[in-house]
Amino acid sequence: MADQNDLITVFVDDKEVAVPKGTNMIEAAFQAGVEIPHYCYHPKLSVVGNCRMCLVELGMPMRDRATGEPVLDEGGQQKIGWMPRPAIACATNAAPGLRIRTNTQVVKDCRNGVMEFLLINHPLDCPICDQAGECGLQEFAIDHGRGYSRFVENKVVKPKRTVLGPRVTLDDERCILCSRCIRFSKEIANDDVLGFVDRGSYSTLTCHPGKKLENNYSLNTVDICPVGALTSTDFRFKMRVWFLKETRSVCTESSVGANTLVGSREGKIYRITPRRNDAVNDTWMTDSGRVLYKQVDSDDRLHGASIKGEPVETETALNRAVEILRGGQAAIVGSGQASVEEQALLKKLAEAVKAVSVNLVAHLGEEDGLLLSADRTPNIRGALVTGLIESLPAEKLDGLAEAIDAGKVTTVLTHREDLRAAGLTDAQLGKISVIYLGTLANDTTRKATVVIPTLTVFEKAGSFVNQQFRLQTFEPAVPGPSAALNDAAALAKITSLLTDGDIPSQPTAVWKELAGTVPVLEGIAFNKIPADGLALDGSAWAGLSFPEKKSLHFEAAQEAATTA
């Protein structure tokens, strides 16, 4: 936040507003409560000023050229020198005393003219266009358009369904040539594959010959395209956007924790789009993170509880789990995919059964420097904060394997982790009883004694702590399968049965306890966590060698990087 002293005063339609020097005037106007319509300007991309929708009248306090003294009017006020021509707000930065007018006849004419020009060669296929309902052309045509057409000529014809890459389809006729997608590819995705060919009104967006728009950020071009030119091949023609309910969520793909919106209708998810968070993901997210919702309806989804492969009532499975836990030496395998609340409840469970060990499994991958970090789970730091674990997990459960072989562990309760994938052999699983809580069938569930189906991140509320030790919450977008239990509820229930207690599982309740017992979480109430997250003090874990090096808004601390 800028210091109060760094702020300067500018005037938008005579409204005074204080902004940091150099603030873009579109943003400054926004702060003054004035919307300046724009297409090509994007807060996270370079300014090119090509759409001309943001034209305003611009004035500067006058100074005498020779002396530099302010020029005053009769009233003793400094005179304003109004520019003879309208100027684009997007390329104008706040300077002391600068004034813009957005409501004059000149500005109205400019907007009206630009709208007319943008529409004359536009196909206007709104009825079959995916953008309809969230389209910049529709919006500003209503606000600033003429309302009728003066154009009687033939429209320019361009390619209609160009496949730019595996996930993006382009309708060139709808393109308003704002170049946002080109700048994004070049400046953010570092994959300069898009460009215009031809010139004038025939200019056509296209991919470099022999190349494809296939980087893992390609779908952001669809998000920032102000019109229906760039469409998501996955989402295309599936659902009218005004039917979509949007739910705040957090991407579980890696420890970056990109903020997202999940669009659903009648219990079905249709798309995931990024939600702006300038401290985490700006306005972007990965393509790979957008398809994670497919696990909701995955063929492998666990739809009912089972004991030794036989379907049972959930209640029966829970009781059986408790029986097994009571009867043996249990080890616990938790998950970096689990929420803070679930991890806290799992810790309680581990204490209740006096677990031989509590393990987590690291899921590592290559970092891309942007929004995909080396840690492919969203919440390893949550497990540290809640005290479920004290050191960073390994990729394989070697210690647990040894303990099983040595006969020290006879039961393993695993929350979401596939033990086979984490290095345990079929033979080792054969020696023990496995209790599995999770969402997808895998080699472990096929061997498990008890399987209890739970919910995906899209079906429940909770929180994660990302690589920056930023606490971020997510909300349920859709209901889960009817037989599935909320993970937190299942864990709380097992512990309650084990201890004859009544352990609450609602996030608000879990947080009451966390806020009172975990120092870095002191005073935090679940409902009060801001939508864009809350920075926690992670200094207690600064000595650990986390696998992440660099992301869009994250850089590993120097010491940690060198000890790594």
Partner: protein, 453 residues
């Protein structure tokens, strides 16, 4: 007294024995000015150019001394000089005379200018359609490098600067200085927004850059040769030196002519220099500074006060040929390309022709020019194909009005001014077209009769 050309820039051009090779240039005193310049202080040379009152010959007529003054010398970044040899404005064919017939004069002008602004590197951006010109320049440069007029440690002065010839690929917009710079950087020639990208501060490779026209740079040589003071005596105050006028259209002797600024009037140029109109024809209209400038109509009266307070009233033939007078007449001297139209001209057709050019050349970057230029072209083309409507005149004016002053670069004005001035001054012809059209009553034109643009 018959009017006399004063050839300074074109002095040797078209002389019987004058060739483009270095020996010939040296025989005519070539590179002596460079020799002299290298002995002076660069700031003093800039001062001379300022004193000379030289104004750019590329179109806008901006003071060259001022332009060089704006160069951001404090940045510590290298300074570049670019010679704009993209000459593409319809009706303009002066730079090509210099390039094709006296290339060494240009090279000397460039090197003197480079030394004056202490440029690190110079470029000649030559229009793609001048392949011979590019070859001639390359050859001349080889000769000049061999004699150490260009390159390292020029004539032992310790100053080094090379010139690179870069060919365009056939786009008018590459003549706009920031579009040119983008093109030179290897990108599409999309003109840059100003602010912040003023070439003098953030030009080529984001370094301070001077972009000057071919004729302007040749003039610099003569300014340094005769001194700024002496140069400023040629022509009229604020309109100094000579101008090369490219005359085309309905005159008996079209061609290029060099005159002192303001020394003759439009009438003298047409009737005495260019041999008059074709027999039996009346003057109808003149575009005075390349096709983008506002058209002048025969019979119009231009009234006003000159800078020194004298009142005047001119007819079209009385307008003196200099920057300021043409401005008083409501148009601009632009690139010096004068297009003369007699009474055989159909003004709707003429505008359709001009509009076709601008629709074809709009770079397409900004909305008003991209869409407006093509729309105007479609309207005027339809009108000239027997499908005019009475409301088209107003529509044309309105569309043009939505372009001018609202675009990234001056192409916006370049494409709007012809339409604005043609329709304004020849409205009756545009309306008459509608009355003569095949379907005057129709509001929806018959598309089949109109070419698909």
């Amino acid at each position: 007294m018959p009017v006399q050309e004063r050839r300074i820039i074109l002095k040797h051009v078209d002389q019987p024995d004058y060739t483009t090779d270095l020996d010939c240039y040296l025989r005519h005193g070539g590179y002596e000015v460079l020799r002299k310049a290298l002995q002076s202080k660069p700031e003093e040379l800039c001062q001379e150019v300022m004193k000379s009152g030289l104004r750019g010959r590329g179109g806008a007529g901006f003071s060259s001394g001022m332009k060089w003054n704006f160069l951001d010398r404090k940045s510590g970044k290298p300074i570049y000089l670019i010679c704009n040899a993209d000459e593409s404005e319809p009706g303009t064919f002066k730079d090509r005379q210099i390039i094709h017939k006296d290339p060494h004069q240009l090279i000397e002008g460039i090197m003197v200018s480079c030394f004056a602004i202490q440029a690190k590197q110079a470029y000649i951006y030559i229009r793609g359609e001048f392949p011979l010109g590019a070859r001639l320049l390359e050859k001349a440069l080889d000769e000049a490098r061999a004699k150490n007029f260009v390159g390292d440690n020029i004539l032992g002065s310790g100053y080094s600067c090379d010139i690179v010839v870069h060919r365009g690929a056939g786009a008018y917009i590459c003549g706009e200085e920031t579009g040119l710079i983008e093109s030179l950087e290897g990108k599409r020639p999309y003109p840059r927004i100003k602010p912040p990208f003023f070439p003098a501060v953030l030009g080529l490779y984001q370094c301070p850059t001077a972009v000057n026209n071919v004729e302007t740079l040749c003039n610099v040589k003569h300014v340094i040769d005769m001194g700024g003071e002496a140069f400023s005596k040629i022509g009229k105050p604020n309109n100094t030196g000579t101008r090369i006028l490219s005359v085309s259209g309905h005159v008996m002797k079209p061609g290029y002519y060099e005159f002192e600024c303001g020394a003759i009037t439009m009438g003298q140029l047409i009737d005495e220099v260019c041999g008059g109109l074709r027999p039996g024809r009346e003057l109808k209209a003149i575009i005075p500074g390349g096709s983008s400038m506002k058209v002048l109509k025969a019979g119009e009266r231009y009234k006003g006060k000159t800078k020194d307070g004298k009142e005047f009233e001119w007819g079209i033939r009385d307008i003196p040929l200099d920057f300021d007078s043409m401005l008083t007449a409501g148009s601009m001297a632009g690139s010096g390309g004068i297009i003369v139209m007699d009474d055989s001209t159909d003004m709707v057709e003429a505008l359709a022709n001009v509009n076709a050019f601008y629709a074809h050349e709009s770079c397409g970057q900004c909305t008003p020019c991209r869409e407006g230029s093509l729309w105007m072209n479609k309207i005027s083309s339809r009108m000239s194909h027997g499908q005019a409507r009475r409301e088209d005149a107003d529509l044309l004016e309105s569309v043009a009005g939505q372009i001018a002053g609202r675009t990234i670069c001056a192409f916006g004005e370049a494409c709007a001014w012809p339409t604005q001035s043609f329709v304004d001054k020849f409205r009756d012809e545009f309306l008459a077209k509608a009355d003569k059209s095949a379907t005057p009553e129709a509001t929806e034109p018959k598309r089949a009769a109109v070419p698909l643009i």
